[in-house]
């Protein structure tokens, strides 16, 4: 059932993705695997513009009917945009986790952090290992 994890981005072991926009900024979101585990997402708490976060610090919160989960920032930087559509339609994360369900954009402070993150195949291997 799982969608293919796109190879144009990097992944964290906390099930976030990050894509390099090529202009010093990145877009982040949660993975298909994460939305599948959470199921029906009914609320997203978005970060404020200008918020400074360190790598793997909580930057947003996603809630399903039953659970509350932090979303960790894959990189250190400053939030420059948040996906306001999620306020009205949090289910976009379930329907399109890698596209319309993006959560925020950040200006990177340490672009080298990206290199240390998982690529799609390493992330898939990680999920497979986690399930056993």
């Amino acid at each position: 059932m799982s969608k293919v994890n796109p190879t144009d981005r990097r992944y964290t072991k906390e099930h976030e993705w990050v894509i390099d926009n090529g202009d010093g900024t990145v877009t982040i979101g949660i993975t298909d695997h994460a939305q599948e585990l959470l199921t029906d997402i009914v609320f997203v708490e978005l970060p404020e513009i200008g918020k400074q976060v360190k790598q793997m610090e909580a930057v947003a919160v996603v809630e399903s009917v039953k659970s509350v989960s932090d979303v960790y920032s894959p990189v250190t930087g400053e939030v420059i945009e948040a996906n306001q559509k999620l306020e009205q339609s949090p289910e976009l994360i379930n329907h399109d986790p890698y596209g319309k369900g993006w959560i925020a954009k950040l200006k990177m402070e340490q672009p080298e952090e990206l290199q240390a993150l998982l690529d799609a195949s390493a992330y898939e291997a990680f999920i497979a290992a986690e399930e056993h």
Partner: protein
């Protein structure tokens, strides 16, 4: 962890299993919202084998139960069930349970799963201490299986495999009948705010009934439903969950259980409750809806004008109403519908407003809330 007789079926159906008070239970099969809406619009089948059944029978059973239950069970008829509180000496809620009168001096108490052992030990202790020597108290939990069939199509589905006429079965009444030729007790009751039935049958045969019901319900949209939706269904209907919204430190008058306390008879906890009744309670459990964005959850703090005044006991996203709802303890002066307060959600505050319960009410033949059941 304890497993119900249906555990393997849940796994085969792809359910996500969680630890619920020491029981391995399905929390969801597909997703909570879908299962919730299925129960409201069609019907849902729930594995409730984890709940406790304690039989109390023999000479003196009536007097014994009058002594331990807050509710006056005088006048209860065979075939009738009643909701009651098992109170501590201090008037705290040890458990909220249903009492079935099976025959003269033969009662069945249906308890919460997490409180059953405590209830059972307490009943035995009171029996010994108060000299109810001829009362026989037995824990039947391991031999009785329980299914809840809930939702507007429940009667149509169950009637296919029950010879007795279900349509004439009234709310909070039961019959001893056969389901698929298996001896069973069927009551018209439940924990969802919908019409429906609680079905009790021998533990080792409950799987056959489960399978047959799912089959009989295909054309009616019946689906198996997990504990996740059970929780949202009960909360929308303004029903409390023991261990979440109440426990031994809360009294029936502080929650919405004043109506099942009868101060006109003697029972354990009566003195404390009489005192509280005449003095009035200081805090009350109220229903609220969120005004501002956010979902309040169990344990979140309630503030009024910057001062901490209460605590959220249940909170979720309501699938039917599509908004955030919850229950909270607040000072009595803040308990009137329309009153507003703030709830701390992580590092900010969001406004909420007291509303009358239930949040959701079925506009059909049965009235489920605060009726005389």
């Amino acid at each position: 962890m304890n497993k119900t007789p249906l555990y393997n079926r849940h796994v085969a159906l792809g359910a996500r299993i969680i630890d619920f008070g020491g029981w391995a239970m399905p929390v969801q099969y597909t997703n909570v919202i879908e299962e919730h809406l299925t129960t409201r619009s069609a019907a849902g089948l729930f594995d409730i084998c984890h709940m406790g059944e304690i039989d109390v029978k023999g000479k003196g059973a009536f007097d014994f139960l009058q002594h331990v239950l807050s509710r006056n069970i005088d006048g209860q008829k065979i075939g009738q069930m009643k909701l009651s509180v098992l109170a501590t000496e201090e008037g705290g809620i040890m458990d909220d349970l249903t009492v079935y009168l099976l025959g003269e001096n033969h009662y069945r108490l249906v308890t919460n799963a997490s409180t059953k052992d405590r209830d059972y030990a307490w009943l035995l202790q009171v029996k010994d201490e108060k000299g109810f020597l001829r009362v026989e108290i037995t824990d039947e939990t391991d031999v009785i299986g329980k299914l809840d069939l809930q939702g507007p199509r429940s009667e149509d589905i169950l009637q296919q495999i029950v010879p007795a006429d279900l349509h004439s079965l009234k709310y909070y009444h039961f019959i001893e009948t056969k389901v698929l030729n298996i001896p069973a007790l069927v009551s018209r009751s439940g924990y969802t705010g919908e019409d429906g039935f609680e079905i009790y049958a021998p533990h080792d045969r409950i799987g056959e009934i489960w399978d047959r019901l799912l089959q009989a319900g295909v054309d009616y949209g019946l689906k198996p439903i997990g504990l996740g939706a059970r929780d949202t269904l009960r909360l929308e209907s303004g029903m409390m969950l023991h261990g979440n919204d109440m426990d031994e430190t809360t009294t029936p008058y502080e929650v919405v259980y004043g109506w099942i306390v009868n101060l006109g008879k003697d029972f354990i906890g009566k003195d404390a409750l009489s005192k509280q009744f005449s003095e009035g309670v200081k805090r009350k459990l109220v229903g609220f809806t969120m005004w501002e964005r956010g979902i309040a959850r169990h344990g979140y703090k309630v503030f009024k004008d910057g001062t901490e005044v209460g605590i959220v006991t249940s909170g979720t996203h309501s699938p039917t109403l599509e908004k955030a709802i919850g229950l909270a303890f607040v000072p009595v002066e803040l308990s009137k519908p329309g009153t507003t307060f703030d709830i701390q959600i992580r590092n900010h505050f969001a406004a909420a407003q007291v509303v009358s319960l239930p949040f959701y009410k079925k506009e059909k033949q049965y009235v489920f809330f605060n009726t005389f059941i």
